[in-house]
């Protein structure tokens, strides 16, 4: 393990933790504007997290160790996954780090524990949320795999680091495959982070909530960790999309100047993407549960098309 990689480990994790809540707030802000409200400040999520960290944690008397363990598993899995997705600086990968299939299953691990915790407290909403979440993830699974397979076909590597390095070297060649890939990744992003056509992150309306239903029983510090891991997940999926489709600024050399430029560019691009997500959410109505497959089929279709193009042409 060289110095650059060690530095990367520390800085990347710190950066993700630091900026993740910002994008959640930006999406909220954009949605508020679209609805004609002024909305909360963009730093509101930081304040909420700080407040929650000070609060007492209350456990239901029916809950078991799963409830206590879940927040830590969740944040740990997501943070390890975040290591796989460099934000601004791509070092040489060391060991098995950066494997895209491992990335997928780290996210699945967090989700699995979240669903367990939803069931654990014994509240009916938690069970409902968990069952829905698991149905959706069962449906989205093949699509996600195909999208990632398309990524692998396009960049000829299973490693996220190699993909980023390749796309950074190529600059921003707007090829048709990248456009299709962008759409597929965007759909995956929306589904994985429980955004509007699939789930509504802002409501605790019992009939529709999925993600919120599962963390309904969490409180205090644990809730803060759950919220933070959701934010980190959002950020890392956004980083994946950004660094593959619009990679300009992404650097592979360790120098203060380029990294500073890359950071500024990344924050700008991510802000724009957060804005797009917010507008997308505002323009859509939540889909009926049984109609979701047609959304996934779209991503599936485009990814398969990419694979066909890559194999035959």
């Amino acid at each position: 393990m060289n110095l650059a990689f060690g530095l990367y480990l520390v800085l990347n994790t710190a950066a993700v933790l630091l900026i993740a809540p910002l994008f959640v707030s930006i999406i909220k802000k954009v949605k508020a504007w679209a609805q004609g409200r002024s909305g909360p400040s963009v730093f509101q999520t930081y304040l909420t997290l700080a407040k929650l960290l000070k609060k007492e944690t209350v456990y239901s008397s029916h809950s078991s160790w799963v409830m206590r363990l879940t927040p830590y598993v969740s944040i740990a899995a997501v943070l390890v996954a975040a290591l796989f997705v460099p934000l601004v600086f791509v070092p040489e990968p060391v060991g098995g780090i950066g494997n895209i299939i491992l990335l997928l299953y780290l996210l699945a691990l967090a989700r699995f524990f979240m669903a367990l915790a939803g069931l654990d407290a014994g509240s009916s909403f938690g069970g409902m949320g968990s069952s829905r979440e698991m149905s959706i993830s069962a449906i989205i699974e093949p699509t996600t795999i195909i999208v990632f397979a398309a990524l692998v076909f396009v960049f000829k590597s299973l490693n996220v680091f190699d993909m980023f390095a390749a796309s950074a070297a190529a600059g921003a060649p707007a090829t048709p495959t990248l456009i299709l890939l962008g759409i597929s990744l965007f759909i995956i992003l929306v589904v994985e982070t429980s955004r509007i056509p699939v789930d509504n992150p802002e409501t605790h309306l019992e009939l529709t909530m999925i993600h919120e239903g599962m963390i309904l029983e969490q409180s205090g510090k644990n809730l803060a960790l759950m919220e933070l891991s959701a934010a980190v997940k959002l950020t890392l999926l956004m980083a994946l999309l950004i660094n593959l489709i619009v990679p300009f600024g992404l650097t592979t050399t360790l120098a203060i100047g380029t990294i500073a430029v890359a950071t500024v560019l990344f924050v700008l691009k991510a802000t724009v993407l957060a804005g797009i997500i917010g507008l997308f959410e505002s323009s859509m109505a939540k889909m009926r549960f049984f109609r979701l497959p047609s959304l996934f089929a779209m991503a599936f279709f485009f990814s398969t098309l990419i694979i066909i193009i890559e194999v035959f042409a």
Binding site: P176, I179, I183, P293, S294, M298, F301, F302, I308
Partner: protein
């Protein structure tokens, strides 16, 4: 003269846009956005014709672009939108045979099939060249995807849009495989306009409210199956 490599990459991006619009037309249930997406698709074809013109310099392409723009980007979408206003249908949620998801999965298989079939048929002709070959494949795929829309939707007005999207596919195919005389392209568009007018006018009859139909049916002594009204 513009750099040919740049033009080619622009055309490739436009291909992607065409495929995205086709997938959207297959799967959406919102009629209003359907019309605007169709207009977008036609606009993409116009841009493609212009790009090809800058590559080849055939004035036919310029004329095709102009006619396509006037008819398919402006007149037909406007006409259909005004008809939609009148029949007050916003959503098309009924499907025969195929649900949007199945259609999407099916169209994937179709694209693959067309690719292989065309690769065999066009072997050894000038159209086998990469860019033009892709144009042909995407043209035919767009056509078959449009056909699926035509056959899987129940509302006549969505069927019309499927047909229009098919016709776009034919235009794309013709543009990339060969150079048809302009007069023929022009006459096809005339035919298209007539067909669209007629079918949409009939649609007004078909999709108008149940009460009007009851009146007509009573007048004609034809009271029969009226329970499957719109």
């Amino acid at each position: 003269m513009i750099d040919p490599a740049l033009v080619q990459s622009v055309i490739r991006i436009l291909f992607a846009v065409v495929i995205v619009t086709a997938a959207y037309i297959i799967s959406t249930r919102n009629l209003i956005s359907l019309v605007s997406v169709y207009a977008l698709q036609s606009l993409t074809l116009v841009l493609m014709a212009l790009a090809l013109w800058s590559l080849e310099g055939a004035t036919v392409l310029l004329a095709i672009a102009a006619v396509t723009f006037v008819s398919k980007v402006l007149i037909i979408p406007y006409f259909i939108a005004s008809i939609q206003e009148r029949i007050r249908i916003r959503r098309d949620i009924e499907f025969h045979f195929l649900s949007p998801t199945t259609s999407l999965l099916l169209s994937m298989a179709l694209i693959l099939f067309i690719y292989i079939a065309l690769a065999n048929i066009l072997e050894g002709t000038p159209a086998r060249e990469s860019l033009f070959f892709f144009g042909a494949v995407i043209g035919l795929s767009l056509m078959l995807m449009g056909m699926m829309v035509t056959f899987s939707r129940k509302r006549a007005i969505t069927k019309v849009l499927g047909y229009l999207s098919m016709e776009n596919g034919v235009l794309l195919f013709g543009m990339f495989v060969t150079e048809l005389p302009f007069i023929i392209e022009f006459l096809i568009i005339i035919d298209l306009v007539i067909l669209v007018m007629l079918t949409t006018i009939l649609t007004v009859g078909l999709d108008s409210t149940l009460e009007e139909y009851h009146q007509r049916l009573h007048r004609f002594h034809l009271v029969g199956d009226t329970e499957d009204g719109p």
